[in-house]
Symmetry: C2
Subunit: 330 residues, 2 copies
């Protein structure tokens, strides 16, 4: 697999140098691997810190900015960042009002954010944590005990970030993050595996003519493999898998997310089928996002995330945000 890189060892550092040059509104420390809002710490505001393995861009670095994350810590590709990065990020964004760690449910991330929380508290920073585990496809996986954290991460970071920007205290920001995660469910499919720079070849073998249902964001196996399906059929499977687990009574936020290698032309077409499937099942969609937000390098495929909302969450969704990847209202 050919890649637009120098050497596999420098991929993350090179990308951070590129982010630094592209986004003067962020402070990007490529050596220590921390991306911070340039105006941090913002007085009297709870800090929001997330992070995880690289290879899911724009998650998380592309979600740093007013109205969303205060800082992000990228690890090596598909590898958890280390506690030092997280402590450094917490210290950079803490205004004295505390910091919320948004943690996707992968074993390495959970362990390292736990350790970082202890270290940060030793330094006098109040820390709360929220675990994102929205993927209905599998319980336990290659990298996870329990459900994986995938597309809902975007909703958690946006909605809790908006609450933090409004001046909510740590307990409230944490409660919103927890509510968003509990109200969110995801399901993804892969048409091709992804290739990591270190391995240089696909992470698993997906034969021509087959797709993998219930895929995660690291090329780990999903729920089952099937002969190739139409966009319409895939939308039905994804929506049914989600609604089997959470039947929304209220309108939802909908994320139709590309895994990286699927053209936007196909993704919009898939979105049309997801909308049809939701309409047929009497689920009302309040807001939509279609695009590549929580990716898996060059994997072809898509995921669907629903988040059941109330008036308060809708208001937080519509609140202004200004990050490299998500931007409106300012």
């Amino acid at each position: 697999m050919k890649m637009l890189i120098n050497v596999p060892e420098s991929v993350v550092t090179d990308a951070l140098r590129g982010m630094a040059a592209a986004h003067p509104e962020l402070t990007v420390d490529a050596d220590n691997r921390v991306i911070v809002r340039r105006d941090a710490p913002v007085a009297d505001k709870v800090g929001l810190v997330s992070g995880g393995g690289s290879g899911h861009e724009p998650l998380h670095g592309g979600f740093v900015g007013p109205g969303m994350l205060s800082a992000a810590c990228p690890g090596e590709v598909f590898t958890s960042p280390v506690p030092d990065q997280m402590v450094r990020a917490a210290a950079a964004v803490d205004s004295g009002k505390g910091v919320l760690f948004v943690v996707k449910n992968y074993t390495g991330d959970v362990l390292n954010f736990d350790m970082a929380a202890e270290l940060a508290e030793d330094e006098g920073i109040q820390v709360a944590k929220v675990l994102v585990n929205d993927d209905v496809a599998v319980t336990d996986s290659t990298f996870t005990a329990g459900r994986r954290g995938t597309g809902a991460t975007l909703f958690v970071e946006k909605l809790a970030g908006a609450a933090a920007d409004e001046g909510a205290p740590l307990e409230r920001v944490e409660a919103i993050a927890r509510q968003v995660n509990e109200n969110s469910r995801s399901f993804g499919v892969a048409l091709s595996a992804c290739s990591t720079p270190a391995k240089g070849s696909p992470t698993f073998d997906l034969p021509p003519g087959e797709l993998e249902l219930g895929i995660g964001i690291h090329g780990e196996p999903g729920r089952e493999r099937r002969p190739m399906m139409t966009s319409r059929e895939i939308a039905d499977v994804a929506v049914d898998a989600i609604l089997d687990d959470l039947r929304p009574r209220n309108p939802v936020l909908l994320l139709v997310n590309g895994m990286g290698g699927t053209p936007l032309l196909e993704l919009y077409g898939f979105h049309a089928e997801v909308q049809r499937a939701l309409t047929e099942r009497d689920v009302a969609v309040a807001r939509v996002l279609v695009g590549n937000y929580v990716t898996s390098l060059d994997m072809a495929g898509a995921s669907v995330t629903l988040c059941q909302i109330d008036e308060e969450l809708l208001r937080l969704w519509d609140a202004p945000v200004r990050t490299p990847a998500l931007r409106w209202g300012m």
Copy 2:
């Protein structure tokens, strides 16, 4: 090649249905294949209409909105839209101040926009046209007499769109579009070919271990094929090819554009190398955009576009824009 579609015949219509559901701020006519700002025609404003083959998303539909295009006409994949679409778009956006057609230099597009301009003028709409032909890689190609239109299209649409929004008359909007095109140059590379839905397999054969320099946006052949190179080497080749043709004296706008299949992680790393190459050659960068904007379905690769600017063009670049793919300041 597996695709997230229903049948190849409905790919564009399905995508337009998906766009319609995702973007209530646009009027998307999926049957007639015209995407229009919902508030069109805007009183006393020149209309900006573009279009071209589908498969380059978010170009052009993703650039419709305040501060950029008034309307876009998507053709079949890699196939020019027809004059009927363009006339319909012109009629929808004309406030009486006239319409500018932004035409990428491909034979079919040029012919059809010419015909549409005549038809629109017959209906009493004043029409001007600007041809975008920024690609320095090849003169004449599979689909073009003269140079191809690629990444500069984004600059033309943004800067002329900003001028139109400020109330500039048609002659002025046209002059700005022409100036932007004349001041812009692009060069692209492909690491893999793309696959069209109709063909279902790669449009050309690119062996493992080789890349194609000077690629266009349709999988048509480029300037030469070489053994695989590093990101650093590719940046040097692309920047030199551009600077051989246009040596900017002023600062530039820089677009580092992904062709669709290259992960954002790699694209940011490539951007770091392009910045280095420009610094070494004493080219000052005023503004940067890194992302997938003018794509070629699932092709892996990237292109570099420079646009030499003055204070007026910089001001127009910074002016507010609100479209699905480009959004700031409002």
